[in-house]
């Protein structure tokens, strides 16, 4: 158990987290507190609560509100090809190695609204590997998952992401993977059909697939060390021999109890390989 905070806010947060865990089985108690507090405060305001503790009866008695609460507490935003050098390294280094396998399985953990998983699928398409690839994209947030599965983004966002795409070694035009209309861009079905979206909770759920690559970027930063260790262990268990792990550029396995499970492929870009 993380140390209990004695400030009023701390007590209120503990009560809400306890209610969520015991009533619904969603345990946020090992999420990093500072940003969780920000998000919980924002959620309380959005739901018209004067105090965080007023979320407790809503959590206990209003089941229909649960998706909105989970959405409010989980990591909401991604973008396409964020950190272009990482996607360039996946394209140039990892994909040629994965290409030698007859089938490629990839797990993106914490896919939020799907921008990154579509970025990955586009890389695979351009490497002519998508046809033999299955990507599992999972998140705890069903509202975000539904958006991800829709694959519809503001057209303006695609313009903004184009620069990232080109820096990541993009070989065509990002817009060519979308059909445009009414200010929106919808991802092509040919890209989407290789992705399965599913609810998965990194805190509580176990291994559900064996994959050659796990992509989980900017999710571990929201977890405390205990939960980080658990999740890195889960990734190791889900990877086949010599499988790859890609973390966010400010995340690190070095100081984790799980560090011996992974060897660095490109330490600056946080690309690792399962040992053994």
């Amino acid at each position: 158990m993380p140390a209990r905070a004695s400030s009023i806010h701390g007590i209120e947060m503990d009560l809400v987290l306890e209610a969520l865990a015991r009533r619904h089985g969603y345990d946020f108690r090992h999420y990093a507190r500072a940003s969780l507090k920000r998000r919980m405060t924002g959620l309380a305001q959005k739901l018209g609560c004067a105090h965080i503790a007023e979320l407790v009866p809503r959590v206990l008695h209003d089941d229909a509100l649960l998706p909105e609460i989970l959405a409010g507490l989980s990591v909401p935003v991604t973008e396409m090809f964020r950190d272009p050098p990482v996607f360039k390294a996946i394209r140039d280094t990892l994909l040629p190695m994965l290409a030698t396998h007859p089938r490629i399985n990839i797990w993106q953990a914490g896919c939020a609204t799907g921008e990154e998983v579509y970025s990955l699928a586009i890389l695979l398409k351009e490497a002519d590997l998508l046809h033999k690839t299955q990507i599992y994209a999972t998140d705890i947030n069903d509202i975000a998952l539904a958006k991800a599965e829709d694959g519809i983004f503001p057209a303006k966002a695609i313009e903004k992401y184009s620069d990232n795409y080109l820096k990541a070694g993009g070989q065509g035009a990002l817009a060519s993977y979308f059909s445009m209309g009414y200010g929106f861009a919808k991802i092509d079905a040919a890209i989407k059909e290789h992705i399965s979206f599913a609810h998965h909770n990194l805190v509580a759920d176990g291994v559900f697939c064996e994959v050659g690559l796990v992509v989980c970027r900017n999710v571990l930063i929201y977890f405390d060390r205990v939960l980080q260790d658990r999740v890195l262990g889960l990734f190791s268990d889900s990877l086949s021999r010599g499988g790859f792990l890609c973390l966010g550029t400010k995340e690190n396995v070095t100081f984790s109890a799980a560090a011996p499970l992974f060897a660095a492929v490109d330490p600056a870009l946080r690309l690792y390989k399962k040992r053994g």
Partner: protein, 207 residues
Amino acid sequence: MSALSPHLPSGHSPIAAVGIGCSAGGLDALRHILPGLPAGLPVPVVVVAHMGPSPDNPVLEAIGRHSGLPVVEAKERGKAVAGFVHVCPPDYHLLVEADHGFALSVDPKVNNSRPSIDVFLCAAAESWGSGLLAVLLTGASGDGAAGMAAVKAAGGLCIVQDPAGAHAPTMPRSAIDAGGADWVAPLDEIAGLIVSLCPPPRLEATS
């Protein structure tokens, strides 16, 4: 300079950390201030500067050579260390946990900014309470005003750069208007003010 003298108010808890926020023109301002902070400063300094996404850390590179204190990037779960300047990485919010360890987030922009000075100062105020000395410098947005108010509400102390001499006056002006300034000081006086408010430098590090 406002009415308060350049000394810790009597009975105030000692300063345990210095948090600095800046935006447009901020790198020049930091190059002015950091050389004035002596080696062995017994508290950590944390810098949050607005900047666009970048694979490197432009702030780290810009101010590293101008500081008497070692300058490092704030690391996820790394502790704020006395005598070091910790710089926020680009395109992440920087927060501070109860144990004074850093946390990063990619939550949506606040005040059109990631990193946001408000996000940092609110978390830092919660972590260090009355031990936080917050410094808000030049900038063209309203970011930082709510953060400075949070620092004051937690009992911390606030220095705001005098908007009259600032490269961009909006940010310091917003903080002053929101009541978030214990001292309003011209750029040249800020380093001296920080030093006089902090505990004296550790001798072993200065010799």
